[in-house]
């Protein structure tokens, strides 16, 4: 994706349509890959499908087929359990052979439930242990400063992940050092494994928390592609003086009615008949 010459070019309806189509692709591929593994994180991935698609098809400065390009923007997936939605995108960018997707989670395949940077080209950092990757992203962003490169780092965090104390260690340091090339995107789908995030341990007032740590905050509908794209491009091209938390309000299980209504679909598997119905629902919606 070339650096944008102006917002009008990159927020054109063509780009928006492409991102929407790729978000649907992420959901359909997620269903397909989980059918291979017979277990997977459907609803956590569906809530961030537009976020992933917007980043990878509208925001990140990447070179097709060159996953190690030193000046690329970095993406770290704090909520590593949504990696099943990232892999099809990385293959789509020519970072690895899409045929590998067909062996998702099978013995010796590089693609597991959580991403491994030593095995998956284009995966900028491994994850799976919640709370680590904002620190890692901060290290990358500081590394850009120290090595004289101007890339940005985007960290996708689950809202349940914000229960982890290390998140706030990283937030404090990033705020203190004014690390403007770091963007945290919170997938605020409202649920963690045991139920509602704010019933378990509330993370509100969320925007105020980030601000108190020295961050700018933007709240956005995480399924509204033009809004996401506009927000993230402004941050990419605006050289902010502070790190920014984008609180993306999303729906866990977005796109599949019965998953939207039942937090249990954080992890699961669909038998053939139910899978076919889900695919029909996803295809009809767009």
């Amino acid at each position: 994706m070339p650096a944008s010459e102006g917002a009008s070019l990159t927020t054109s309806s063509e780009v928006v349509e492409r991102i929407r189509e790729r978000a649907q692709f992420v959901r359909l591929e997620t269903v397909r890959l989980i059918s291979i593994a017979k277990t997977g994180h459907y609803s956590s991935t569906f809530s961030c499908a537009e976020i992933l698609a917007t980043l990878y098809y509208g925001v990140l400065r990447l070179r097709h087929g060159d996953p190690q390009w030193p000046d690329r923007d970095r993406f770290v997936m704090g909520k590593g359990h949504a990696a099943v939605g990232l892999y099809p995108i990385l293959a789509d960018h020519g970072f690895f052979d899409p045929e590998l997707l067909d062996g998702y989670t099978r013995l010796g395949n590089p693609l597991g439930d959580h991403p491994d940077m030593t095995k998956v080209p284009g995966c900028d950092f491994s994850s799976g242990s919640l709370g680590h990757n904002l620190s890692v992203g901060l290290g990358m962003a500081l590394g850009a400063r120290m090595t004289g490169r101007d890339f940005n780092v985007y960290a996708l965090l689950g809202d349940g992940e914000l229960h982890e104390g290390q998140i706030w260690e990283a937030a404090a340091a990033a705020g203190h050092y004014g690390v403007g090339n770091l963007v945290a995107i919170v997938d605020r789908n409202g649920y963690c494994l045991d139920g509602k995030v704010d019933d378990i341990i509330t993370i509100e007032p969320l925007a105020d928390r980030w601000r108190a740590f020295g961050w700018d905050v933007v709240e956005v509908d995480g399924h509204d592609v033009p809004a996401l794209l506009d927000t993230l491009l402004r941050l990419r091209d605006g050289a902010p003086a502070k790190p920014t938390a984008v609180i993306a309000h999303t729906v866990k299980g977005k796109g599949v009615g019965f998953m939207e209504r039942d937090f249990g679909w954080h992890l699961g598997w669909l038998a053939e008949q139910d899978e076919a119905a889900v695919i029909r629902e996803l295809k009809d919606e767009k």
Partner: protein, 348 residues
Amino acid sequence: MNLNTDSLVPRGADGQPLAEGSWHIPSMLLKSPGLLALGEQLGALVDDGEPVVVLTPDLSFSNGLWAFHERHPERFLQLGVSEQNSVSVAAGLATTGLRPYVTGFASFLALLCCEQIRTDIAYTRQPVRLIGHHSGITFGFYGTSHHATEDIAIMRTIANMTVVAPADHVAMGVLLKAYADHPLPVYFRMGRGREPIVYEPDDERIRPGQAIVHATGDDLTIIATGTTVHPSLLAAEELRAEGHSVGVIDLHTIKPLDEAAVVAAAQGSRGLMTVEEHNVYGGLGGAVAETLTDRGIGVPLLRHGIRDEYAPIGPPTHLYRHYRLDGPGIAEEARAFLKSGRMTSDVR
């Protein structure tokens, strides 16, 4: 490096230095040459062109990085009291081509950050160096929260990790430099920087992965690492004066272990004794026992160290005496071992 250490001296209201003997955190460095040397050694790596970044969780005086900061502030990152964040930030820095050195008390670095080290550094193969100082019971009466008698065991079970415990700051400097380009993570285990000097500068025997055989002995070989090397050498002298033939090996690189040196000692001595400022489970003694067992070598082995307990309150030197980890104590343990049924029995 010729650093002006004037700013470290404690001063009274009149701006004059306080009486000889008064000390505070910055001036403590002047009493810890090993830690002051660490800052200078890391600074020398930058001077050599290494892409070093040093991270500290609010311990730049406690670990001598003050000297590094004086020299290379642009390569110094202060992260406050957040050890876990520091380790993961180091992982991110490493992905950009930098070579991060995370320093901290061994208790917090190796124990508190065990999972960040495993998941963010070792699993991902990042060339981060972890320097755990004040290891073992060197903290004395600061108590168990500040002790690390588990760190060798933890670090050596982490795949991709190298574990090194230099005996003094000369060996630390040599090994720090020797591992500068190592493509995978390294854990350096240090004392509190007041360890007696064992090695002459530029001693050519100090090489990564290679045990240093100070002496061989028919009766017993003492295998030591880090802070226990110096007292083991003292113990061996004492035992030799009594007519025992005693060897000493400095096994500074605990992983990968110099197995040939251990096997040679087992073949050349009637018994082996490991000495470590660590729990006897899983550390140096454990590593040596595994090596012997794997090869079917049935030599009597005494694993000497902290025997699966937490240390009582006491100054470091008193604790070493309590645990028989000083020269006379190690000699006493060795004497008892040499006389014991384990050494004289035919059941080998």
